[in-house]
Amino acid sequence: MSSNTDFEPKIIAFVCNWCTYAGADLTGTSRLKYATNVKIVRFPCTGRIDFLLLLKSFAQGADGVIVSGCHPNDCHYTSGNFHARRRWIAFRSILDLMGVDIRRIQYSWVSAAEGSKWADLVNNTVADIRALGPYAEYQKVADYLEKEGYNEEA
């Protein structure tokens, strides 16, 4: 993996409304600087984040994904994040088997008070993805139609 200095990772963050979104807001109001590679999509709860959205992000050009919500026991809906955690465990296991690069999905708990954690999370994720390079492997198959053999395509 060559160090891709020109490469600006595209990262989609799926965050819950009550903790991480508020946390990210705090990062801004605290005037903390962090990488601008992230597009935030706000959800009511991590429990609402469908796993297919993560795959769709990659298919549509994201190089990395952040999923973040309330810390355990802090969920606005009591247990949404616990359900989400289970789903992530299963999802990671399946993706890993299929050879999807699970290093490109970063899960986190960021509370409304953790403005600096959000900045760190984004910065670290951007750095990680920058090191991994563009997720071309995934994106190149996104528009495939009829191909008699996957390997036929160079």
Partner: protein, 336 residues
Amino acid sequence: METKYIGKDGIEKWFNAIVASGKRVFAPVNARGQVDFKPVKKLSEVAGDYIQTTQSIKASVYPKAEVLFSYEKVNGKVNLTDFDPESVPETVLWKVHPCDAAGFKPLSAIFNWDTADKLHNAHLIKTSVISFSCAAADESCFCTSVNGSPGNTSGSDIQLTMLPDGGAIAEILSPKGEALVALLPSVFEADKGEKKEKYLVDLPARFNLEEVNAKLNKAFDSTVWKEQSERCLGCGACAFVCPTCACFDIQEDAHGSKGRRIRCWDACGFAMFTLHTSGHNPREHQSQRWRQRILHKFSYMPERLSVVGCTGCGRCSRACPVDMNILEHITSIAKQ
């Protein structure tokens, strides 16, 4: 139509000449425990000992998913980009069974019976078919019951009948076939007078098509559909491996202001196939869908398009997870 002889070495040289001409060559390849058509470059890649490929060759003239046209929205206007027939590469199909080649006729009948289908025809024009007559068959084969035979040349541009010496009788059947011969005419020798029939598998007919047709004409309300389809799971395996099934869906692949309209395979066995927006479904039960499949092939197509919608390749029977054996079912209808 001209008959020639081609020797063992000649076959390989000719094959290499076809590949060298830049044409895309599809042939049966044994990989992943299955024999199926794949792009090949060398004759050694071509599978030898097998009865039938899992899938038919239909995808070469009717792709699983194909762009009908694409569009782009610009300032409230829409620009269309039509399908370009020139985008279809010249293709040679090598070692096609006669039952697969024979499938081109019913396929084209469906695609062209009233309105010409530009896409299908573009593929058809660019495709040359080199079939190999059949020296072996299994219990699912029944081409001789549906107007075909192990040496049927319908749909083929050239048919080879393999001889014990490794050479073959080459029947050159069309201008496209002649063009293929012209790639390396030197390997084609004068016909040695061998009788092709001698080398074909003996496959007695299992039912009489006219008889079946007559029975089916009165069978719409028969209980046979329910009886036969009880174990049917309603998947599309039979339709997708079939050389003549042509039912399709039209779908939209939209990405912001750009997009493309896609035609893709569909199957009459799916419960959602005929579902109306209102929730009403004219083919609500699996038995109705099974009936549609059989009647469409053996009654409606012969009547409307003058061609039977089955070539006896037996793939549907082999592919079916619950052994819906079409030969057995048709035979039982014929006996009723």
